[in-house]
């Protein structure tokens, strides 16, 4: 194989590939990125950890076809060190791969393996339905919910995000068993039905991919993402990438059952000030639990923490509330995560008993979007 490609373009795809390649796998081949000549003027790059797979193409001057698999991180590090401009990639029969900066003496040689040894990536069936969604919409869904996904890989059903498309509404729901986030958006004119459980790793990679295409883009509006659910996988195509993820085959918890329909008390709180108070007081909260005590009384919410090891912390925020006093213990980080996902000036916090879930919503209703967070309290 011998091709000449643009460094910047190569680096963009390589960055995503090395993010997916699994260096720690017991299968060494998974630490590699596949380089493969595709047609007459393209070089295809691909990487997978057998759960996620990403591939992309760069325009190439093809001198000689073929394929090779080389260490993803190694190649990435070397291409990064190359000067701007064109890069030549040439392999020998023994898969040794030399990359040269065109018009410069800088070069590297890597030991690779034949491209045929690289596992083949999943492909969607031709007949599978293709859905189209704005990258911005997907970003909004992910941004408002990703923090509540459990990082516990032993609980697959919580270690993932539920994506649902129902009529002209899309939604994402996440929960780690202690709190839940739900974001629903209207997608006018786009009718579809879909349900998938996307693992945390997939959500993270999807988020990076969207972030990147956004920062690389020329701000000429939102990029469209093509979504295809096929077999056990979901495929996402955007900006020249195809990203696939093996969906979680588990039952998402019955989340509707735990969303309080009403709460006994609703408190309107200025979001920014509440966030600041929570941040400030949680500095003094127990490292172990991160628990703070919220006490709501007429016109005020008090935030307090106390622990044997970190002493006490206290702050107070003026709120719009006129009712009986309520006290509830909560994990400050859970509240901060939800407040961070809301843009409105005010939030409405719904509370019932000290052992009942708290419901947090933006201060203003919108027909286009609906978001809320449900947080279970702590016994403090």
């Amino acid at each position: 194989m011998h091709v000449v490609v643009n460094r910047k373009e190569l680096l963009r795809i390589l960055a995503r590939c090395q993010g997916v390649a699994d260096k720690k796998s017991t299968m060494p081949v998974l630490g590699n990125v596949l380089l493969e000549v595709d047609g007459t003027d393209k070089l295809r790059l691909a990487a997978t950890d057998l759960y996620l797979a990403v591939s992309g193409r760069v325009t190439a001057d093809v001198d000689k076809g073929g394929s090779v698999a080389v260490g993803a991180r190694d190649l990435f590090d070397r291409v990064k060190m190359m000067p701007e401009g064109q890069i030549s990639i040439e392999t020998t029969d023994s898969s040794s791969t030399t990359i040269r900066a065109v018009g410069s003496a800088r070069r590297y040689t890597l030991h690779g393996m034949p491209g045929e040894e690289f596992p083949s990536l999943p492909q969607p069936e031709e007949s599978a339905t293709k859905l189209e969604l704005d990258a911005d919409t997907l970003m909004t869904l992910i941004g408002a919910t990703h923090f509540a996904i459990s990082t516990d890989e032993t609980r697959l059903h919580l270690n993932s995000a539920l994506f649902e498309w129902e009529g002209d509404r899309v939604r994402m729901v996440t929960t780690d068993g202690h709190r839940l986030s739900k974001m629903e958006l209207e997608v006018p004119g786009k009718q579809a039905t879909a349900t998938m459980l996307i693992p945390l790793k997939g959500i993270q990679e999807l988020k990076r991919l969207c972030d990147e295409t956004k920062s690389d883009g020329d701000d000429s509006g939102s990029t469209a993402i093509e979504m295809i659910q096929s077999g056990p996988n979901a495929f996402f195509r955007l900006a020249g990438f195809q990203f696939s993820v093996k969906l979680v085959d588990a039952q998402f918890p019955p989340y509707q059952q735990v969303i309080p329909e009403t709460t006994e008390h609703a408190i309107r709180i200025p979001r920014e000030a509440f966030s600041e108070a929570l941040k400030a007081v949680s500095v003094a909260a127990s490292d172990r639990t991160g628990g703070v005590k919220l006490t709501v009384s007429t016109g005020k919410i008090r935030v307090a923490s106390e622990s044997p090891e970190s002493g006490e912390g206290f702050d107070e925020v003026d709120v719009d509330y006129d009712g009986s006093e309520i006290t509830v213990g909560v994990n400050a980080r859970y509240f901060l995560d939800v407040l961070g996902a809301i843009d409105e000036e005010d939030v409405i916090v719904g509370l019932s008993g000290e052992l009942d879930p708290a419901l947090i919503q933006p201060g203003k209703d919108s027909t286009k979007s609906s978001f809320f967070g449900v947080i279970m309290p702590m016994r403090i």
Partner: protein
């Protein structure tokens, strides 16, 4: 209402082997009988009738010695197969009266009647003690009627007290030592009456001028330590009428030390199969049982574990261990699927399995965070309360149960009720 004090009863079958032999051969009634073997042969006396006791014959004595003391006694061989069914029948009778039974030996069992007074109260009954006394007399009567065997029952607030009382109640009597009177009952008794004081220790006590249990109770602990070592405290407690009233049915190998709030170190259990195993359901059962065990222990300590490790040893002694970090848990319902995963991923060879072990580490306290979906805490609290009284095996996950055991259990229950 005050918590009821412990009521432990010790049922002892009087001269058990002799009594059975007399049932089988009524001509032995009233005769001096020694069970163990031919006079002068190499065995020991396994049981002897009251008729020979005044001459110094005791269980455990060599037959040669017994033959010297009472050459006129009837010597019979020990027929172990014969006595078992009688013992079992007595257990079954006791089980119809008492929910918690611990079998101590072929002729001795403990019953826990704690809190059972109201179950048995009938009009005319006086104090709680009267109720229990009446029930105990009824038990000895039932045993006599249904098996023909004489038995004695002692009752007290601890196992030791009950045991001593049963000794005092013999032959064929019932003695209840009311709560608070233990020390008074024990104080005048010779030291040998307390289980745990054998001939050697008694000799040493006598050398110090200590003859009665009352004196033992008053002797400084330091002096008792020189005789009993680490057991000095339990011995002195016993002499004062205090002691364990725990009839939990755990096998000694399973009596782990789980101090409440112990987050140091780890909690682990492992078992070697009696023979190397291939059968997936046997492996599942063991895995599930170990999982239940470590979770139960974690709950006893009041801690949750962040890391679980599976240890697997193949028949060829090749061992592996696989760990996983997870949301802190002390629930077998959450842990078992993780263990199962570890097992499936870790069992890469077809060689049969010799040993399985489960370890919980990275222990910490519950942070107070409540759950959105089905909190299993109330369930575990219920299970643990039952186990605290009836032992670990009283409630088990179905996966951990041996289906063969199940059938046997069912069959014996059927017999007992029929």
């Amino acid at each position: 209402m005050n918590a009821p004090h412990a009521r432990i009863c010790c049922l002892d079958l009087d001269t058990f082997f002799v009594s059975v032999e007399r049932l089988l051969d009524p001509s032995l009634e009233g005769k001096p009988v020694i069970v163990g073997g031919r006079p002068g042969s190499r065995g020991v006396v396994t049981a002897c009738s009251y008729e020979v006791r005044p001459f110094g014959v005791r269980s455990g004595m060599s037959l040669t010695k017994a033959a010297e003391l009472t050459p006129w006694a009837v010597f019979l061989p020990t027929r172990h197969d014969t006595y078992g069914p009688y013992s079992k029948r007595v257990r079954e009778i006791a089980a119809t009266y008492c929910p918690v039974i611990q079998v101590a030996s072929i002729d001795e069992l403990y019953m826990d009647f704690t809190g059972c007074e109201n179950m048995y109260r009938s009009p005319g009954d006086g104090s709680d003690d009267h109720v229990i006394l009446r029930v105990l007399r009824e038990i000895t009567r039932s045993v006599r009627q249904q098996t023909g065997l004489p038995s004695s029952i002692g009752a007290g607030t601890s196992k030791k007290m009950a045991k001593v009382a049963s000794g005092l109640a013999k032959p064929a009597g019932v003695l209840l030592v009311p709560a608070g009177l233990e020390a008074r009952v024990l104080s005048g008794l010779p030291v040998r009456k307390l289980p745990g004081i054998g001939p050697v220790a008694a000799g040493k006590l006598h050398a110090l001028g200590i003859e009665t249990l009352g004196q033992v109770a008053r002797t400084p602990l330091s002096a008792l330590r020189r005789i009993f070592g680490a057991w000095a405290e339990p011995v002195q407690d016993g002499a004062g009428g205090r002691g364990s009233a725990d009839l939990s049915r755990d096998r000694p190998a399973f009596q782990e030390h789980d101090p409440e709030g112990g987050i140091v170190g780890s909690i682990s259990n492992e078992r070697t199969f009696r023979e190397d195993v291939r059968d997936p359901s046997t492996i599942d059962r063991m895995l599930c049982g170990l999982c239940e065990r470590v979770c139960w222990r974690a709950r006893k300590r009041g801690v949750r574990a962040r890391t679980v490790t599976l240890k697997l040893r193949y028949a060829d002694f090749h061992s592996i261990s696989r760990s996983r970090t997870m949301t802190p848990t002390c629930s077998e319902l959450e842990l078992y699927p993780v263990l199962k995963d570890l097992y499936v991923a870790g069992r890469t060879r077809r060689v049969p399995i010799r040993l399985l072990g489960v370890q919980l580490s990275n222990l910490g306290f519950f942070d107070g965070q409540l759950c959105l979906f089905g909190d299993s805490q109330p369930l575990h609290e219920g299970v643990d309360a039952i186990r605290a009284r009836y032992g670990f095996d009283a409630v088990r996950l179905a996966t951990a149960r041996d289906p063969r055991e199940e059938r046997e259990d069912g069959a014996s229950r059927g017999r007992a009720s029929g």
